[in-house]
Amino acid sequence: MSDDYVVLERLKLAYGETVAVHDLDLAITRGELLALLGPSGCGKTTTMRAIAGLLAPAAGRIFIDGADVTYTPPSKRNVGLVFQSYALFPHLSVFENVAFGLRIKREPKPSIDARSRAALATVGLEGFARRNPAELSGGQQQRLALARSLVMEPKLLLLDEPLSNLDARLRLEMRTELQRLQLETGVTMVFVTHDQSEALALADRIVVMKDGIAVQTGTPEEIYNRPRDVFVADFVGFDNILYFRNGMLTSDFGSTDTGEELPGSDALAWRPAEVILGSGPMQGRVIGASFAGQYREYVLDTGLGKIKAQAPADAPPHTIGGLVAFELPLAKAHRLPGTGK
């Protein structure tokens, strides 16, 4: 139990009869920025609520800083939570929303003022102090929710999709801000997102969740390069996943003889950039084409189902409806062990 700040032990979380999270084991290191990544409804918010103490676990234990807090009320945990729904106080001004927690703690008035102003400045809302939360845009409300938690300087900060409503530039700014905060204050952060690029960019470690189960835990590099199964692979951008069986590549839609022998019945995965376009033994019809700056992305309708491929933007474009040759190079395939059907 060296430097683990939060430990979840066989945590089971349920709403009445429906189990939302099954036997979750997780250790979060002090000062770490951990991302919970997964599709909608996989139990991310539920996990955060349990750590914060808003949801009593059906089974298992929660430790924070070495102490068993499984039955500790939320107000005693020193945990900050930025709600996915913001949960701003509608009867208080922007400033008073931020000052709320400091007032409960009976901080001296000058300190409340100074710290609340500083927190509002951090999220770029210094000009909005006297407004009502209802008079803010969605992104501004989200930043207010962030400021309200930041001002308390919690040891553990839980962020439930805190950047989902921000435009690209603000999102980058807030990301940088979170990273600066982590470095300067050593706060431990858990950060929920269903955006894989955000998790990869920001997190020290990522937990990929599916249907209430932590499927894979690892550094962004591990998750990105060595996904453990088809689900994780699909989530981190391996858009083409096929199964290799008896010398045949198969999918739910068809199969193709590759003329090669590979042992086992593994799944093979390629990112769009790894598909060779313009030459190769297979053919597909272009049914989608989109320009993405550096490259063009194509969707091909093939005997193996839909294949996603990329070509450099300066290569001559393929037209929708045309036939294109392509190859799924076996040498580049990522093997996903033990998941073949």
């Binding site: 914060a52 939320p74 107000s75 945990v79 939570l81 949960a87 509608p90 409960i104 703690k105 308390m152």
Partner: protein, 260 residues
Amino acid sequence: MKRNLWVARIVIFLTLAFLIGPFLIIIAAALSAGSSLAFPPQGFSLRWVIAVFEVKSFRASFGLSMFLAVFGTVASLILGVPAAYAVTRYRIPFGEAVRMAVAAPIIVPGIIVGLALLRYLVIPVGMTVTLALFLAHTALVLPYSVRVVSASLENLRPDIEEAAVLLGCSRFGAFARAVLPNIRGGILAAFILGFVTSFNQVPVSLFLSGPGVRTLPIDMLAYIEMTYDPSVAALSALLAFLSIAIVFAAERFLGLSRYV
């Protein structure tokens, strides 16, 4: 098309006439110079309006009615706000049954409630009439308190309480600081509705009167049996204006119609 329009106009006119007509007749009768309650009034004077303030029993019964309306409604809110909170926030066992029980006083005819209180509390136990009246009015107003406060609780997102708790509040502190300020309007609306309901209440209070203890409406009934002069009309008009003033103020400042 045109015929339908005429029918609609006639219906609207009749509705308004029946709603407002009696009120206008009462006012006219109150301003009569004659000495018996009559319409059309004989002459014009303010003597009966002034006379109202000189009837001693009216002063006492007005005091009692005010007391019942204020404290009965406050008591109903003290019971009703937690009840509304429990029914809207938690899936409590028999929640539906609780809702029904709380609504019972408006479903059971008031005259039965009054008779039952007299028969089983005042007579055998010796409970004072004032206390019985207080209990009856509290129960009578409770359904409105629960319903109006529930409505404003349902419009309030539950997560702000959790936010308050995470910012250091106790459960009760979170209710006081995050919930109460946001349902203040609903509570005031419930108070006004309860006040008016209690103040105008006749059937429940009918059996619950004793020597010198009568609510104002019952006192007016008694008065009219003895003396058939326009002062009752004057008092009615004054009370009607008081009610209208209260409801207008509520609509103006709180938007009462949102809650009812």
